[in-house]
Every structure is written in C-alpha cells, then in structure tokens.
Symmetry: C2
Subunit: 477 residues, 2 copies
Amino acid sequence: MSDKKMVDSITARDENFAKWYTDVVLKSQLVAYSGVRGCMYIHPYGTALWENIRAELDARFKATGHENVMLPLFIPESLLQKEKDHVAGFAPEVAWVTHGGDEELTERLCVRPTSETLFCDYYASVIHSWRDLPKLYNQWANVVRWEKTTRPFLRTMEFFWQEGHTMHETASEAWEETERMLNVYADFAEKALAIPVVKGRKTDKEKFAGAVATYTIEALMHDGQALQAGTSHYFGDGFARAFDINFTGRDNSLQYPHQTSWGMSTRIIGGIIMVHGDDNGLVLPPAVAPVQVIVLPIAQHKPGVLEAAALLKERLEKVCRVKLDDSENSAGWKFAEYEMKGVPLRVEYGPRDIENGVCVVVRRDNREKTIVPIAELEERIPELLQAVHNGLYAKALARREEMTYSAATLPELIKTAKTKPGFIKAMWCGDLACELRLKEDAGVTSRCIPFEQERVAETCVCCGKPAKDMLYWGKAY
Amino acid sequence: MSDKKMVDSITARDENFAKWYTDVVLKSQLVAYSGVRGCMYIHPYGTALWENIRAELDARFKATGHENVMLPLFIPESLLQKEKDHVAGFAPEVAWVTHGGDEELTERLCVRPTSETLFCDYYASVIHSWRDLPKLYNQWANVVRWEKTTRPFLRTMEFFWQEGHTMHETASEAWEETERMLNVYADFAEKALAIPVVKGRKTDKEKFAGAVATYTIEALMHDGQALQAGTSHYFGDGFARAFDINFTGRDNSLQYPHQTSWGMSTRIIGGIIMVHGDDNGLVLPPAVAPVQVIVLPIAQHKPGVLEAAALLKERLEKVCRVKLDDSENSAGWKFAEYEMKGVPLRVEYGPRDIENGVCVVVRRDNREKTIVPIAELEERIPELLQAVHNGLYAKALARREEMTYSAATLPELIKTAKTKPGFIKAMWCGDLACELRLKEDAGVTSRCIPFEQERVAETCVCCGKPAKDMLYWGKAY
C-alpha cells in the first residue's frame, strides 16, 4: 500500500460498525491480513502498541511481586489430559502437532491454548516445602486456539498474551491473589487505557474450564456489545491434586497448594479501538500510544521552520513519545494521517507561531485547540496528554452509563435486548436453566455477577423465583 | 528443590565439561528440564537474563533504524515450498500441525523454524514503490526445529530469538545491511557479553539454506570448541523472485528488492556460561546480569546492621541492579549461592564496616577485594562493574589466543585437531572436497573465512593447490 492510499475515507462508524472496525484496523496500519488462516501480520505500529501495553502491565506485575518465566509451546497429550474439566474445555480447539520432520510422533503434542498444565508440571518439580510458596510467576507468550471465524485482535487463531500462574500455601491467599490481579487489570484498563470496566464474577456456565471461580472485567464497546477484557481464575487445589503437586506444611503434614491464573491478551487492542475510535480512525489512550505527540511544521519550506520544529521535537523527547513529520506530504494529508493513527496530540508549528513564541496543540479526542507558549512546553504537553486521557475516560463512562439498562421482567428484558444495545442489569435466581433461556429468548449471555450489587428487583427476571444476584447481561464479542 | 540443595558442589569444569555445563545450568537456577522433549522450563533467573539480552539488542536495533513486527507462528506448507533451497534445508527438521481440534487440515502447517517465507509473503503486500524501501523489520519470537539430541540453551527444540528481515532497493544497500548487523552482533558480544568473537563469512557448505552469503561471529568456549553466536545473511533477490515481491523503481521500471536476515538466539546464553563460568558456577557479564550487585549484611543480628544494609541497597538502586539478601541463611551459604549465580559484585557490610564508613566489595571474576568508602559508593560500584567486564573480556581473549593454532600441512592440522582443542588457522583452496576431507580426517569443520585475513601458508592445507583464503577450523557446538 503506498502512503497516499492510507488516508482514503473509512466506513462511518454508525453505518456499519463491523466494517468500520476492519477499516480502522487496516488503514491505521495496525495489522495486515496474513496468508495464514486466522493469523495476523502485525505491523510496526500495532507491535509498538502491544509493546507499550506489555511494558505497562509488566511493571504492575513486578510491583505486585511477580516474576517472568518461559515455558514450552507444546503440551504432550497425556499432560493436557490430567485435569478432566480442563481438557474437555480445550481439546476441541487445539492445534495438534503429529509429525516431526518425516517421523510420526508416538504422542501428539498440542500447541498450548493456555498453560495451566505446563505450569503444574513445572511447579511439581519446584514446590516441596511451605518455604517454596508462594510462587508468583507470569509468562508473555503466544497461544493458539482453533477458531472457526476470526477477526483481527478480537478472535484470532494465534494470539499474544500474558498468563500469570501462581501457587499459594492457603486457599485464602489464593483467593486474595485472584482478586488482587483482577484489580490490577481494572486499574490498568481505567488508568492506562481509559476504559471503564465492570468487575465481577462469571457464572458457572461462563467460567474457565477447570476453575472454581472466574473473575472478569467487562467493558462496553461503542456499539453496545460487551468485551471480556481480562480474567482471573481461582482453581482451589484441583490441578495440584491431578498433577501431584504437594508440599510439607508448617506442621510437617503433606498439603496441596492453591492455585490461580490470570490473563490479558492482544484482544484488548480490539477493545481500545471499539471504545475510543471514531469516524476519523483510531483514538489512542496516551499511556500506550506509540506516538503521543506528532509535530507538524506548517509552511515548512519557509526558512527556519524545519530547524525550529526539530528543536521543538528535541525538547519534547524528554517528556513524551514524539515524532516529527517533515515529509513532503501536504499539511492536510498529514492531519488526516495522524488522526487515522489516533495520535493523542498534534502540534502545529509555523512561521507565525515561531515569531510569537507559541505552538498550536490540537487534541485528537475532541479537536480542542490550545495555544501553548513554547516556554511552558515541557509542563503543558504532559498536562494536555492527561486531559486527553481524562476526556476519553469520561466519554466512555458516560456512554456506558447511557447504554446500561435495567429489566425487572422477561418481556422487558427481551424488548430492551432487541431494541437497545448495551448492558442490561437484571436479577437472577442462580439456575442454569434461566441463564440458557435468556440466551435463547433474548439473545444475551451473562457478562458477570458484579461485585457492586444493586437490588433492581426482588425476583429472577426469568422464572420469578426469589433472586440471588444481580447480573449484567449483554451481547459479547 | 529446597534452597539448601542449590549450593551442592558441581562437577569440576576440567574434569567433565559437559557435566559441569549441565550442573551449572540447573544449579544456578537458569532452567529446569521439562516434561516436553527437548524443551526447557526457563526459571525467573534465566528469563531475566534473556530479557536483559533482549533489551540490550533491541536498543541496538532501534538505534540502527529497525522496527519490530509480529508474524504468525505457522507457515502453510505451500508457502514454505516457494523457495527450493530453503525448503530443502528446513523441511527435515520442522514440526507439522495436521489437525485443528478433531478436524484434519486440508493443508499442513509447519511451526516456523525461521520466518523468511512469512516475511516475504508480508513484504509482497506492503512493497510497491521504491518509496516503500528500505523495510527494516525485526521480530522477537519462538521457533521450533525438530532436533534429535538437545541440550539446554545450546540446542533445544523450541528456542527464543530475534530474527531481522530487511528489504532494500539495491544489492549494495543489502550487502551493507548484512555487514552492519554482523557488526552490531560483534559489538554486542564484546561490549555487553565480554565475549571476543571472530567475524567472517561461512563457506558455501555452511551457509544458511537459501542465502547467497552468510556472515557469522564465532566464539571460542573454555573447552576449545567453537560456538556460532550470531549470523547475518544476504539473499540477493532470490526469495523476492520466488514470492513475487517487486516495486516500481525510480526510473519507473519493475524491480526486485534485495533481502537480508539476521538472528541471535537463547543459544548465546550457553555461550556466556561456557566462556565465563568456572568451578564455582556461573559468571555473568555485568551488562546483562539480572542482579549486578548482591548486598550481604554481616552479623546481621547485631543492632543497626540490617537497617544500614537496607540504606546501602537503596542508594545502589540508582546506579545498578541490586539485591539485598537478609535471609536467615549463613554468610557462607550466601557467598556460595551468589557465586553459583554469577552475580558480578558482592558487597559485604558488617558492624565494623559501618563504623568505619566503608564496605567490602568482592569481584566474582577474580575474587579481588576492594574497600570502598560509603561516600564514594555511587561512583565506585559502576567502575567496579566495568572492571569485571574488562577482566572477563581480557581473560576470554587471552584464552582464545592461547588456543588458536596455525597449520600449514594436513598432518600438522590433524595432529593439532586431535591434541589441542581450539581454533586452527589454515589455508584453503576453496574446494568442497577439501572441506569434506578435513571433516573426515581431522574431525573439524570450517568455522568461517575471517574478514581479517592472514597468509599462514601459500597452499591449501589439504590438497596443496594454491590457497584462496585463510579459514578458522574447529569443532563446534
């Protein structure tokens, strides 16, 4: 694709959200479709975005005492089969390696869809005493799930993620960890990505294969569909028993450790796009944007402009990730290009600005212009980046609240589900039958049992029996 | 494994080098053997070492204008087969995915052993005009090669690496890139890892499958065997033609771009161990050591010692990667433990030191002790780290020179090869037959045709015909 074509117009967001999404992903140069079914070629811009997400998350994991390890890509079939619920959940969607060179393998290897089984095998060899606990490990890895239909970032056959796997001396410590890491994800989503999330617990039907409980953060996309943005699982000692991981406790008795795992993936990039993007393309939250500030010289052929712009950029390098575009492309083309790429701030700097000792700063999120005195540059630009973040968060939160409904009866819920995209808060008795019926009749799934409960009615929205919990229901990616 | 067992003695290096290597790898807590054939469980310490190597290399790639991308794990069989020499070289050692879930695939996918073919498929979609060139991309990835026998880091089925893949407008630019990246590797090996290397070109027999030329850096291990530590390949336009990658040139004619690739892998960790390690375990070069300085409080039960040690550590955090071990283990145990882990500097800090306003710094490489006034801490510790680096490099260089021999005749070469481990410099006529005969009769392979040539004789060491080049010969990992 030559540079000129990149700023072709894209489908309007409210006209066809799915097509808008694909247009943005491709034209902002995040990814290209690959010659490998369901896999992406992730361009430098998309890779840099993921690397920033990774760095931000990794710092949060380190701050909560975790260390990184690297485990194998392959899981021997016998290892995968050790925990029954887990294998039942994952076997239908794994890729199998059956041959090495010309040789048929005596045992098939699956390409990891997740690594609980490998971590258990690893932990069995390193956990012997209560002194060896807790083990707080994470890995950054690629995983593969054999998906029928795929979409860039949202559902791909291979995807990139981090998976934390921890082992604890007691159940309560493991429960604490499960909650701690969900809070880390929520904090990251809100503080780094400007995405408001609902924290809660999955129903048994929706929980992870083999887990006792799955915690989740759920975000609402611009089109009213939900995205599960990160999950944290408590396993009890089920895997530990299946994998013979035990330790000598403080009282010298043999005990099984308690386990958690938690993951966030490249899928979150789909969330960033669908929460913040608009008809001009991507809108990136400053904390993870590969380029936070683009400097565009105006009338750059005039003497002194390029030199002044280069100096401006040099000063900005100390406070943000900044790029200068001094190419021959027109100012109009450049405006459109960096809007498409979602760069949070655009700095325009021409002969008159230079003369007046100012520059013009334009926010990507609302196009607000600010005249910034050059003398205050290093102070004002970080403030404006923070303002973009706050603006994005406030807008996303307002939209979510606007698109969150309550329903007390089944007809009401069905009507809302069919006419108003968004979250629906409704009471539930706890029975799987009701959960299945809502899916059948209203086309919604349970997103989570939020930690912050409200009593929106007294009875189950479906069967009318006494309600146990309030749930968020919705359609999901 | 409980902590106590970690400092069991290891096999002496000169008694059984292979066993010493395995002992060090396991007991320094770099890796554990995994339940997956030929794959490693890389512990936090090994992972941190690789992450430091990655960060150092990545900064060098960025400084030379490269960007990271992420390409798929799988290569469809038809894509792998597009370049004949390449598929012939790699097909015998790839892992094949034949099933997704219960379904047999219509086309097999190989797990990437290297990604030239994927990069070519990618480049075909993004290169159209000379303005799109050069493309200077790199990826950090896991790759799989179906090896018969494996050893931690040195030869594993799955390994981690970076692979740079670049496309250029002209052949001369691509040749320059090939050489530039070899120099980046050599600089990294010498400046960051303290490993002296020989830069040169591989013979046709030893070059990469599908390449026109392969450049290499070759390092000598303590036992006199060579390790190929990084390679950089020039491909000409062979792959570009096979993959239909072309562009409109400055003169409007259709042209094929010229390609390079270059890689360094987790194998280099094996090199670090085998160049610098000793009978007490690992010895890590400071630039990549996960812990550069270990602070050990002496007589830590005495009042004020732990507090003073914590303050010392806090000050050191600003100038190096530092850890404080205030565990209950004995000082003797701690000394052995951090020697085993190869931590470059040990700081001993006890009541008398505190009183005198000094600390005792012990170098891992030569056990030299320095009394450092606390007032000069932030200045002296980085100097001492540099001294460790210099000491390691000088020692490795001296050993390599001591173990580098010349041979003018075949009997001389055979005798040297059988009695003196190391590099042998000898002249070569350029014929494959002579290269094969040296392998057969002397058990050595050509390591490289060094860029720095010497005329050690006038005729080929094997056939006696006029010599073309001086080569390094040796046994290799």
